[in-house]
Structure formats: structure tokens, C-alpha cells
Symmetry: C2
Subunit: 426 residues, 2 copies
């Protein structure tokens, strides 16, 4: 099966290609086999008209808690302690497999509509999330979530090993399982070390929250005499590929550890602002050569999963924080949301750019809308002006997931109904 | 002619009403005559189904430069000096009445699609903008823009007086003309004083940029020994109703002047971040009891006119800057975009809330979308989760401007075509 996207404005995000070109994209099976063209319409079993559109790599949401969509807008404008103890944790304690399944489906609808084709998740009842991801057509790095002490981890271990055994590489490589200890303040040393060992054993990554808040840092310094990054390094955690969410408060020495260990950072600007954790120095991370991806965090601390909005906010914050309007130009931002996220998740051989050989993860953005007129610089337009609603078509691993704003892999009406039923039980 | 919006979730923004209620809204002519209902369908010549929607007051964009839509995405990621001297001013020098007309129409399409029914503008060839606003059905406070020295102002004066004479109160009060000296650094003392005198003569407001950048403040201190606010106060400018855009860098004494003079502040968060001017202390302004509205600034320094995005960013920034996630709660943000903006523009007797007697400026937000499921707190949902594309229907002064996402007062296709033609000439 061959598909041609014809006559479109291509933004390939490939350092070996121009930043923009006009032409066609040729897809065979789940792979891109040609970018630029022209390709003869007869070469394609399916021809998609890409005129009046921009074609970009599918966006990569490198840190979320997908099923937390069920807790959207249930607790806002409050401090972290009240938020967690009085609102989030009591509701999370009630979460069943049924809730996670429909919360995941709900999140997937939103990811698709906002152009995300790959995401990294950290939550519970992962088999339900995986079931929903496989049905959706998207790809995901699913966290084998760990927290608590040695006993808790030992009890959890058979189920986690079963995740790797049953699903690591499932869906022709769409699903990957990563070791995901929650954070240094919720995991004991034994749990963190077990997570590291599992990441080594299964040749996967280690997904964790690091230095989200000042309190996390000061508590870790009190308890271990080290920053969270130093503490994890002392446990040899960085000997496996690490990607860390937030990283709002990294010291110079922490940044050096990330550099030496080639670890990835996931920037979560909306969440960091909403919970008043601060401004991550993303411009500096990029200048230092670190791998930076972008994520929405969960819908409960955001309150949406809109990567277009995260991109715009990322650029704006770095300009204001550095007091230099030239930094974090649009192209760099778009990198964090595509190839940057791919590098962070260890998927850059497979996704993140539009180039021959890569997985056909492609989104079409309708440029024929008032707020994209005149288009002028298309890169600026995508990052500063475009809205998630401009995304009309999403192709994931060569499969059409959304076409002209209609999701074709999932039953949207049923999902909204079931998700609402689940949310009402929480 | 009576219209009923039936069976909807009403967010009236009226301190005498609950924050949300379910029911109907009754409109007669250009006015709201009842909120809550129920009203019998036979009472209405037209009945709009408001189920699965939230009804809010039309949003108020209290500071923009509408026709700058033509310069969208033409110059980004650069310092203010390069941006102005090499990109914006050379293009602005070419602007003709034809450009302003179609640039204004283009901006109006975007305002309507993002739920704005009233805006304050400061630009050139205002008659073209007024022509477009009148055709659109929206309301606008149009700046009689002034800059330069006494001679420049004297030369401009007949045309400005003609604006007041021909258009102040036009469209049954939809159009108001405000005196709009650009800023203290672009206007001489005589020009600022003339603007003040004109505001007094025509009983209108005085619209100006104040303390947008640190440089504006330091230059003003060097030249006049006063901050821009103190300098304007020394010219007695605050003896007329003032609304000032940006106000990023106000001193304690400046804030006192705003308080004593009951002057309004227009917050422009995206523009202030993009141009690296900083973070306006909006939470403090509100705590001090100042009138605060919200604006997008021009599309060239934003790069869109999306008030839903400005609302979200406003809340996020205040939480992060104060390091307190409880501040600038969603309801306060929604106030800045509705009744707050109305107060700033001196229109709060007429617009800004859904209550009987006010102009029927109403937007319907489709809540039946994945990113508004579950809705939970509808106020949070509007500010933190909703997208401009969720706005389906816009009523302005009782007239349907957009219905089910189709703009009915303007020819969208023609406008996009003509605006593109104009942009290509710049």
C-alpha cells in the first residue's frame, strides 16, 4: 500500500534537508520512502491533497500521565499539597482498570486532534493504556511505573515484568516499555536501583521526574546531601538512558551530569507555571548541547494535552527569562516537539523527522485559516500562530488516524460518553 | 426581533448573579432582556440551541493594532530595534488605505473566530478600519492616533477631528473614538497635551502605551526626571480617563497614580514575552484594586489575536512569577477578558457581562469536545482547557456574526484573497 501526500509545504525537521520545501511525500506501509517528489499520482494507492497545508512530523509529547484526563479541571488554583492530598490522591485511589481504559482513550482523542503521534506515559494499569494506544494507531513509550520501598517494588515486579514480556516492541515497535520510577522523593534507594537494573536488563530507558520543585531539591539535599540528579548519579542511574521530566531547578553540576551521561530533559512549561514551580532554563540546556523534548504533563496539571500551545509558551518564556527576544527561535522550538523528543525517548532512528526510512508519522496543518494569513515564515507560523484545531489529518505509522478532522481509528462519541461515566465515579 | 438561546450553561460574569447557571438567554434587538429563564420558545423569533455549550460575554481585546495582521510572521526572533527599523517601519511606510481596509477585515475574521466582540485599536487610516468594523457587526474603540511633534499633530488634527465628527458613537454606539497618543517616547509634550485636551473635548478616553520596556522608563527618567506615568501625570493627562497598554515596569508611585486617577491597565502577556520586555505584575494590580483588561497587541508582536490563549498565559505567568499557584484564579482571568476590559474602555455600562439591559454580545463555546471532557469546573475549563476553535457562535449587539463556525457578516474567502494580495505588496 502506497500513499502520496501531494503538493504540500513540507517542514521536514531533517538537518540534511532545507527547512521548508514544496512537493510530495511518498509512504509505503508504515514508512516514508520519499520526501520532495514529485511522485506520479498513479504510484499511490491513495493520494492525499496537501495543498493549502503544511506537512510536519507528528508531534512527540515526551511526558504525560494520559488517563489523568479524567481529573481535568477538578482542582485548580491551589497549592501542590492541597491539590495532591485533598483532590488528586483520593480520586486516584479509586481508579480502576475501566477508568484507565476510558481515560486513556479520552486522552488519545485529544492527542490525535492536536497532532501528537508519539507520547511517553507514566501511570497505572498500563495494559489498558496500551490496549487503547494500539487501537488508536499511535506510538507510546509506556512507563513501568514504580514508587515506594523495596517491598512495594517486589510486589509490583511480576506485573511489571509481564509488561516487558508481553508488550515491549508490540504493534511493530509502536509500543516500548520504559522503567519509570516516579521520583527521588517517592522511591527508596532500592526501588530506584531496581528500576535502573530493569532498564539495563530490557535495554530500555529510565523515565523519572527530576527537580520539579525547589522543595524536591531541598528535601533531597537534607536527606542525601546531594541534589536529585547527583543522588541518582551516585546510584549509577545514568548508566542507562535517562529522560527526566521538568528539570526546573538543575545546578551547574547537575547539567554537567546530564551532559556527560547524554541524558534527556523533557520541558513541561504549562505544568511548571501552573503549579508555580518556576521557569526551566531551556535555552541554556540547548546551548549546552543537551537533548530537550517537550511534554504537556498530565491534563490535571495543565489542563490540556495541546502540544501546539506548549510550543508557543516555550518560546515566549525563554525570550522573557533571558531578556533576549532572539533566543529560542521558532525552529528550535519545533525541534523540541519533534526530533528533540524523539532523541529523548531513544526513538530518533525511527521518528521525529520527515525523511525516507523513518516511520510515516505525519501531520497536515491547514494554513488556509485567517490566523495563518499571510503565512510569511511558515516555521514562525507553526509555532506562534497555529492552533491545534488547524491540524486536519494525522498519519501514524503510515495509517490514517484522522482525516479532515474526523478521527477514523476510534469511536469518538462512545469514548466521550464512557469517559464522562468514569469521571462521574471519581 | 427576539432571540432565545436555550438550555445553556451561562457564565454571566455578573457579580449579582451566580458564577454559573443553567438556563436561557433572551435577546431583543441589540440588548439582553433576560438571563436564566426559562423562556417559552414561542417568545423568540429565533431560537438557538445552547445545549452542550457555555454562553459567555463576548471577549474584549483592549489593545491591538488590527491591520498589523498583514505583517504577521514576517519578522520574528529578533531584537526590538532590528524588528522596528529593518522590518516593521519600512513596511508600515508603504501602507495604503487599501492595505488597512483588508488588513482590518483579516483581523476581524480572527477576532470573530476567537470570540472577541469589542476591541480597542491604535493604528492609521482609521476610516478603513471603521468601515470594516461596521460591516462585521463588532464594536471598537478606535484610536485617533497621534505621534511626533506639535507640527505633525497640527497637520493631523483636521483628519482626527473628522473621525470624532463622523464616527464617534456610530453604529448605535458600537464605534467610539479615543485620543491615542502612541507613547511618551514618540510624542512631544505638546502632542500629549493636545491628546489630553481632545479627550476632554470629546468626553472620550486617552489610550497610550506606558512602560512597555525598561528602556522606555530609563529614557524618560533621563529626559524628564520622571517615569512615563509621572511625566504624563505632570501633564495632567490622568484628568481624563486613561487606559494604558503593557505597564510592565510600573513603580509603586506609578501604581498609586493609576489608583488615584482610576486609570485602566491593559495586560499584553504574549507581546511582552515575545519582545522580552518582561512580566507585568497583574496579580498585584488586581490586589491594589486597579482596573485590568487584556489585549493581544498587534499580530506582528504576538503572532495571533487569540484572547483564549492570552487568558491561559495570563494565569500561568502570575502563578509562576508570584510562586503561588493560588493567585490569578480562573475567574479573575475571565474578568480581565470581559468586564475588566469593559471597565478599562469605559464601556462597562454597556458590555462585559450577561445581564438584562446590556448589549447582547454573547459567545457560545462548544463543550462537547475531547479537551473539555470532563468539564468539571466550567470556569477553569474556559480559561485553562478551551481553545478559540471551540467558539461556535458569536452574537454582537444582538446580531449573529458567526453561527456554527460560519462567519455570516463577512465574506471570508474574499477577505483572505484580498489580504494576501495586500501582504504581498509590503
Amino acid at each position: 500500500m502506497k500513499t502520496i501526500i501531494q503538493n504540500t509545504l513540507i517542514i521536514p525537521m531533517d538537518t540534511n534537508a532545507p527547512r521548508t520545501l514544496h512537493g510530495d511525500i511518498l509512504i509505503q506501509g508504515d514508512r516514508i520512502i520519499g520526501v520532495g517528489g514529485p511522485y506520479h499520482p498513479e504510484e499511490g494507492d491513495l493520494v492525499i491533497d496537501g495543498s493549502r497545508c503544511a506537512a510536519l512530523p507528528g508531534l512527540i509529547n515526551a511526558h504525560t500521565h494520559l488517563a489523568m484526563t479524567l481529573l481535568r479541571n477538578c482542582a485548580d488554583d491551589m497549592d501542590l499539597f492541597t491539590w495532591l492530598h485533598e483532590h488528586i490522591w483520593p480520586r486516584e485511589a479509586k481508579l480502576t482498570e475501566d477508568h484507565i481504559l476510558w481515560g486513556s482513550y479520552l486522552g488519545l482523542l485529544e492527542l490525535i486532534r492536536s497532532g501528537t503521534t508519539v507520547f511517553a506515559d507514566m501511570y497505572f494499569h498500563q495494559q489498558q493504556t496500551i490496549e487503547a494506544v494500539l487501537a488508536s494507531g499511535l506510538s507510546a513509550s509506556i512507563g513501568a511505573t514504580m514508587f515506594g520501598d523495596k517491598l512495594a517494588t517486589q510486589q509490583r515486579l511480576p506485573a511489571l515484568r509481564d509488561l516487558w514480556g508481553s508488550f515491549h516492541g508490540a504493534g511493530d515497535g509502536r509500543i516500548m516499555i520504559d522503567a519509570a520510577p516516579h521520583a527521588v522523593y517517592t522511591c527508596t534507594q532500592e526501588t530506584l536501583q531496581t528500576a535502573r537494573d530493569l532498564a539495563e536488563e530490557y535495554s530500555c530507558s529510565f523515565h523519572i521526574h527530576i527537580s520539579e520543585s525547589r522543595k524536591e531539591n531541598s528535601d533531597c539535599l537534607s536527606e542525601h546531601g546531594k541534589t536529585p540528579t547527583e543522588y541518582l548519579d551516585s546510584l549509577n542511574a545514568f548508566s542507562v538512558p535517562v529522560y527526566a521530566a521538568h528539570c526546573v531547578h538543575l545546578s551547574d553540576r547537575d547539567i554537567d551530569i546530564f551532559k556527560r551521561r547524554n541524558a534527556g530533559i523533557v520541558h513541561n512549561p504549562t505544568s511548571n507555571l501552573k503549579l508555580a514551580n518556576g521557569f526551566a532554563p531551556v535555552h541554556r540546556f540547548i546551548q549546552e548541547g543537551l537533548n530537550v523534548g517537550l511534554g504537556t504533563d498530565g491534563a490535571s496539571s495543565n489542563n490540556n494535552l495541546n502540544m501546539m500551545e506548549e510550543m508557543h509558551i516555550t518560546s515566549l518564556l525563554q525570550k522573557a527569562c533571558t531578556e533576549d527576544p532572539r533566543v529560542m527561535e521558532a525552529y528550535q522550538v519545533l525541534e523540541t516537539a519533534t526530533i528533540g523528543g524523539a532523541r529523548v525517548l531513544g526513538r530518533d532512528h525511527d521518528v521525529g523527522t520527515l525523511e525516507a526510512g523513518k516511520r510515516a508519522d505525519i501531520i497536515l496543518v491547514d494554513t488556509d485559516v485567517p490566523h495563518l494569513h499571510p503565512l510569511n515564515n511558515p516555521i514562525s507560523a507553526m509555532v506562534y500562530s497555529a492552533q491545534s484545531s488547524d491540524i486536519t489529518t494525522v498519519i501514524s505509522s503510515g495509517r490514517i488516524v484522522m482525516e479532515n478532522r474526523r478521527i477514523v481509528t476510534l469511536d469518538e462519541e462512545k469514548i466521550l460518553h464512557e469517559a464522562l461515566r468514569c469521571a462521574q465515579q471519581l
